[in-house]
Subunit: 199 residues, 2 copies
């Protein structure tokens, strides 16, 4: 029953299936068997690539974190030397994400931290490191964009984005999450700039 077409190798198919099922149904609610089946393979092959379900979860989350980082790199590449536009570009992307039909379950990283409550769970480290890094990058970007009190502005934006994502589950996609970009832009537009502009 080998798939003759140039199908991606099993490891990639497993990661792709894990991505969809973990996000849609929750990590605890998805069995490794279900992932293997969705990946058109079987449990044994899965366990030959990932030594445990926890390791698969860690790989899943690491992949998401890497994509998040790539978004920042994209912003920098798309608008080099223009931090304010980079900032608005990222906020736009976050807002678009919240409006996507397939995103009704919010931030997969945050969800994982909630589902895997054990303080020692390795997946929690991945989430914490990633979110902290995002916040630091945000502070740096807001500062580079010349806003006064960058920590305050960055924290407000951070909470707006996190709140928009989590509230997709409770108030739905028509709720405040849909207006994230507008809210964030109005916040930026009314935020004072630093006196000294960059050379």
């Amino acid at each position: 029953m080998k798939r003759h077409p140039d199908q991606p190798p099993p490891r990639e198919r497993i990661l792709q299936a894990a991505r969809e099922l973990f996000y849609r149904d929750g990590i605890n609610a998805v069995s490794v068997d279900a992932i293997a089946t969705a990946a058109a393979t079987n449990k044994m092959t899965l366990y030959r690539h990932f030594s445990s379900k926890d390791e698969l979860v860690a790989a899943y989350l690491s992949g998401l974190a890497a994509e998040g980082d790539a978004l920042w790199d994209n912003a920098r590449a798309a608008h080099p030397g223009d931090p304010d536009t980079q900032l608005r570009y990222l906020l736009k992307r976050a807002s678009q994400f919240a409006a996507e039909e397939s995103a009704g379950r919010g931030c997969a990283l945050a969800n994982a931290a909630i589902e895997l409550a054990e303080p020692r769970h390795p997946a929690r480290r991945v989430v914490e490191v990633h979110k902290r890094k995002q916040r630091e990058r945000l502070v740096a970007l807001v500062r580079a964009a010349g806003y006064a009190r960058p920590e305050r502005v960055a924290d407000e934006l951070f909470l707006l984005v996190e709140g928009a994502r989590v509230s997709l589950q409770s108030v739905g996609p028509a709720g405040p999450g849909a207006r994230l970009y507008a809210l964030a832009c109005e916040l930026l537009d009314s935020a004072p700039k630093r006196k000294a502009v960059k050379a």
Copy 2:
């Protein structure tokens, strides 16, 4: 093995134990046996008061929602006829909650919606109804407090609060969640008031 001291009845003990365990460890990670044991009773008695684990979860969430509603009533009673002070009182309470040691797991309602991913799960209705009501009350309170564009201000506050709670898990209690009250107050102070003030 009856408890002679004037102990609360088993139903209340079960709800109290469920409250602590569900919040700390997550709903899916806590067995009904663990709850019964923590409540100093047993599984049979638990099932005589709740026909299923889902019903116990629903009662747990309904209790939390009722407490949330009570907070709004407290605010109104504490500062009658002064919606702006009511608003800041509520934000203060939300900020204090985020700073509590025992609140490191964020909003129990939002967590439940994430853990119980099945769209038909009855617990999701409880969360959605509650969050939507909170948002509506927030809009009404902001409007009553005389702010211009109350929907916008209310949505910003709503997202700030939700974001503060969810980010407790990822960036920790020392993160932006700790500054929720300060951020919200600065937002309110810089928000324009409606031109016509109330009689």
